[in-house]
């Protein structure tokens, strides 16, 4: 297996099927946005109204109709790409850009059926159980794969440059693909309820402090991956990395921390464009090989963004809640996690026939 990252291979499905029309991509984007917004509304409603499970809610209406809208859209896109007598093989032979969201829809539906069976046998999950329920995992996976569809379809269009319209489409698609993961990783995120240490003089290994360290690491990976994946395929449009960091941060605040202070999520949202500007200006001043540029992003961006959160936290509350060991170690760890994420994502190659 090759691991060269100097020239990442461009995935081009254009040879495996007809190109996707702009209308198809935008309609799927709207449908998948509908689906994920339904999840966000539902998450917000459950976070603010614990007894909601007993009521019919418009949030569930949006969520379930979003599933239907996404399903119909995929059927519509698929219809013209199947032979007169479609077989299961012809479904499997569809291009990846369509096959992946279709697999997502299957995962979503199977997960939905499993979820009800799970509730019948074991009862309804609450709190941490929600995040480790197998049926919920299938549902979230399905949403992610469906929401990736428009970006994958756009990737079949040749060329390294994104038009403004396609940049919006890819950005929104990536955003809606990663948002369910941010929501579903609420138990290990730096974009949730906790941002600063507990203030214990000797924090325990297994503790809120320990959990928050992992939250910073996981959020680092989750915020970087969509930027890196888009950057592998296209030249990154100005502002897109900022949007892929700032918007999830602000939405996570609205969904789960709207009763709390704004400064943690707002700091992330403000630090993101500053980091993007720094790296773009730095890129014009210092000429580096492409891989080195990306590794620099991974090394520099996370500690700056999270360091800003800790700094503003200290200004706002008077303490970071951690001593120098943890603060310095945490920021170093986020830098290493960032660089590692860059190396892994940019080293992924297309599968070769065995």
């Amino acid at each position: 297996m090759t691991t060269s990252v100097e020239r990442p291979q461009v995935v081009d499905d254009a040879t495996t099927g007809p190109a996707f029309a702009a209308r198809e991509r935008w309609v799927l984007l709207v449908a998948s946005a509908w689906l994920v917004i339904g999840l966000q509304l539902d998450a917000y409603a459950h976070a603010t109204t614990p007894e909601l499970e007993t009521f019919w809610t418009p949030w569930h209406g949006v969520l379930y109709s979003g599933i239907a809208a996404s399903g119909f859209t995929l059927l519509w896109i698929m219809k013209s790409r199947l032979p007169a007598i479609p077989t299961y093989q012809s479904l499997l032979a569809l291009p990846n850009a369509l096959r992946i969201p279709l697999a997502g829809m299957a995962s979503l539906l199977v997960g939905g059926g499993m979820d009800t069976l799970w509730h019948n046998i074991f009862g309804i999950e609450k709190n941490l159980e929600i995040f480790v329920s197998p049926s919920h995992e299938l549902i979230i996976l399905g949403m992610v794969l469906v929401a990736m569809g428009p970006a994958l379809m756009t990737a079949t269009v040749p060329g390294r440059l994104l038009s403004i319209g396609n940049a919006f489409l890819v950005g929104i698609s990536a955003l809606f693909a990663v948002l369910p993961l941010h929501i579903y990783s609420l138990h290990a995120t730096a974009l949730g309820f906790y941002h600063l240490g507990t203030g214990h003089a000797e924090p325990n290994v297994f503790s809120i402090d320990g959990q928050l360290v992992h939250g910073y690491l996981f959020s680092t990976v989750l915020l970087l991956v969509p930027i890196l994946m888009i950057g592998r395929r296209w030249r990154l449009p100005i502002g897109l990395p900022t949007a892929l960091v700032s918007i999830p941060a602000l939405l996570m605040h609205l969904m789960f921390a709207s009763q709390g202070p704004w400064w943690p999520h707002l700091t992330v949202a403000v630090a993101a464009p500053v980091v993007e500007l720094l790296l773009r200006v730095g890129g014009t001043l210092v000429t580096l090989p492409v891989t080195a540029r990306w590794i620099t992003l991974g090394l520099v961006a996370p500690p700056i963004v999270w360091g800003a959160v800790l700094l503003v936290g200290k200004i706002q509350t008077g303490t970071v809640g951690w001593n120098i060991h943890i603060v310095s170690g945490l920021l170093t760890l986020t830098a290493l996690a960032g660089a590692g994420t860059v190396l892994v994502v940019r080293s992924i190659q297309r599968l070769q026939p065995e």
Partner: protein, 291 residues
Amino acid sequence: MRRLLVLLAAVAGILLATAGPAAAHAGGLVATDARSQVVAITPQIPGLTVIAIEDGAKLRLTNHTSGPVTVRDLDRTVPAGGELTWADSRFAPEGKDLGAFRTVNWTVPLDAAGTAVTVAGVLTGEQAPNPLPWWALAIVSAVAVPVIARRLHRADLLLAAAGAIAMAASITHVLGSTLAVESAPLLGTFLSAAGINLLAWPLLLGGAVVALRGRPAGLLAVCAGAALTAVFVLPDVTSFHRAVLPFAGPPLVERVLVVLALGLGAGVAVAGASVLRRLAQRAAVVAEVPS
């Protein structure tokens, strides 16, 4: 096909307008191994009635006395002429594993205009069925469809028919589950109980109609609808294992309906692979023959 898409779009609209939370079952009822009932109200107060509904999942208090009645544990007061329906883990059968024919007594204290009233009831365990024959029937149904389909020239007709039976079983199952619910509006309960079946049924019906009109592409819709039917009846396999079912009819009928929806649904989905492939091969042969 356009009509089918319009029908599906209408279904999506209904889902948007009415979708409810993913409850365990219609009305939040689940299959259990016990029933709960009220046996006495002490002292008896004229105009005050308390009954167990939905096999004891909930109690319904009707206050036709001249004063208010308070359910102490809930801290809820029912005014004169009012009614209250509620569930309580002490009297509800859900999650209770008593053993067959064993009983557990329960009481609910009330206050009727200053008079202490006790509602006494009993939870009675029931004999759970042997699930193996039901699972065997479901598996046999699922295997029979592809096996028979391999031997038929017009296997498409078999799949359309089996899909239609699965759909009919699924609709009857949903209707029975809806009618078992006394504490929620009928239409809303039906839509909630139907869930994704509101998409599966049009796929099965529309696909069968299109296929029977000589367009084999409809068969793919039948297979997709059948797969959805099987997946979304899966939660109700608890009826094979439990005695008291949230179904307005004999438990035997409910189990047969689940067997048909699950077995035939899965069978059609599996058989679809080879049937569609053969249809495509035949069409290719016909296309190659010079006219």
